[in-house]
């Protein structure tokens, strides 16, 4: 059984079919890439998995659980972590505090416990800051722990989002264009980080326009074009696929 199963999923916004009958699966331990031209529906797939959108048809099944009617915070608890294409770090908080928010789905002290600073809350706080520190180390941001997140450059913002998602103890990570705005060296470091995350047992599904990066790290690639899946397979096979080349003609010429 795959870890994630996208089964006959469609999503329309008014008259626009952002996704049409899309099927693919991600297996435990894979790094899988989701590629396609602008507006192909990649981010929409992420929003459907993480519960921000509900599919118009079809099902999203994760670890045997149907996610279709679940709220985002519940899906986080089931083990899906994600980052966002357009940086959504919490600007007014420090980098470390940002990551502690990732512990929210693994802790339970409520308003009363927090208001009175009861032992349960204090224990969870210690644990949250400890795990947050470790998560920052996993992405190499430990030196920036006390900076305000709003002051980070673009590339590090995405690393911060990865650390934040790691703190939720995900079984699977969804990364939306993690290499956007990075130079070659930073992209290389990101590739190493993603591989390390996979080697820790976390399955990765990523959206990326940087083809070198995609070809280098993914085991399998799914290609979307105008909301339809036009190809799926190992990177080398995808590169030779005529339809993919056609869909990408504009960008390939860049």
């Amino acid at each position: 059984m795959p870890l994630l199963d996208i089964a006959n999923v469609s999503k329309s916004f008014g008259g626009l079919d952002a996704l049409k009958d899309v099927n693919f699966a991600v297996h435990q331990g894979q790094i899988k890439a989701l590629i396609g031209p602008n507006g192909a529906g990649k981010t929409t797939v992420f929003n459907l998995i993480s519960g921000s959108y509900r599919p118009s048809a079809g099902r999203v099944v994760f670890g045997g659980v149907d996610l279709t009617r679940k709220a985002p915070h519940a899906i986080c608890r089931l083990g899906v972590g994600r980052t966002f294409q357009h940086s959504l770090v919490f600007d007014g908080m420090t980098v470390l505090e940002n990551v502690t928010v990732g512990r929210h789905c693994r802790s339970k002290a409520g308003v009363l416990s927090a208001a009175l600073s009861l032992p349960l809350h204090r224990r969870e706080e210690r644990e949250a800051f400890k795990v947050a520190g470790e998560s920052l180390r996993r992405v190499g941001l430990e030196g920036k722990a006390d900076e305000f997140a709003g002051n980070l450059p673009m590339g590090e913002r995405h690393l911060l989002e990865i650390a934040r998602a790691l703190a939720t103890e995900p079984k699977m990570l969804l990364l939306d264009e993690p290499a956007a705005g990075l130079n070659e060296e930073e992209t290389e470091r990101l590739a190493e980080t993603v591989r390390r995350i996979r080697s820790e047992g976390i399955t990765v599904l990523l959206v990326e326009h940087h083809m070198g990066f995609v070809m280098e790290i993914s085991d399998e690639v799914v290609v979307l074009d105008y909301g339809r899946k036009i190809a799926e397979g190992p990177p080398l096979m995808i590169m030779d696929n005529d339809e993919v080349v056609k869909a990408y003609l504009g960008e390939a010429l860049e």
């Binding site: 608890r77 994600r82 959504l88 928010v101 789905c105 308003v111 600073s117 809350h121 939720t168």
Partner: protein, 335 residues
Amino acid sequence: MSADALVYLRRHAGFFVFAVLIMTIPAYLHDSYYLSILAFMGTRFMMALGVSLLLGLAGQISLGQAAFVGIGAYGAAILTTRLGFNPWLAMGLAALLSAVIAGLVGVPTLKLRGYYLAMATLGVNEIIYILLVQLKSLTNGTDGISGIPSLSIGSLDLGGPKAYHLIAWGVALLMAAIALNLSRSRVGRSLRALRSSEPAAESLGVDTSFRKVQVFMVAAAFASIAGSFDAYYVHYISPDGYTITFSIILVTGVIIGGLGTVWGAFWGTAAVVVLPEILKRVNGDITNLIFGILLIAIMVLWQGRTRSLGRLVRTFLVNRRGRQGTTDGAGEPEA
């Protein structure tokens, strides 16, 4: 003293110094006019703390806090004068009712993003005000309710200005401690997170609608308790005190005081209580007009320059402290 206790003291030094300063005032201040102003500051501080949690932490605006203050006041008045309830019990029941009403208003409106809460709370404030005026058999209409008892503990009467100061500020400080704890906790971080980005907060496991409703209920309970305290101090209430105007002044005060920290609520309270008192002496009738203009002026002038009046005062104190080499309690770390 153990190292833990020292760390604890240092971390909360600002709060403890503030608490000691406030609680020792009756030892040397005997003028009942000034004590009354301080008492009102205490209850307004309670209201402002709720607004600060709701607006400063969670980024949600309520323009109807006066309705909850009114429920607290009328709940206390009706339950004690008509039904002979113990004042403390009446205060608790009124706070519970306020929280329940906040929940009923909050669940549908806080699910939506945007200014639905602001609009809904304006409506609630207006409805509660109309009810206070129209339900004459219960509220005595515009005549108001008099003969509200004082608070007491056993046979100890807390109606005098000094005793009242201690109990009102004691409760206000307790609320401040709660607000500070909350803002530094997992709950506070989840609120700051959702203010910054609801999708991101949700992706990390924060049930944003639930959290927003929770903090709105806490703010309503704080306002309600403050309303009850006022009623027990003045012994008389009428609907005038619970209009939308008061809700707006409260929110404005907190914004001026600064949304960045819970202490902004204190500076905001000072602005809201002390300014009109000064203006009243100078001006008499047009106080409200001038007060309004001043509030707007402060908001406009301060925008973008420094985040708050409180910060400005603190910067001033810190600079002076730097020169004189003394310590000062108001220099509280970011909440």
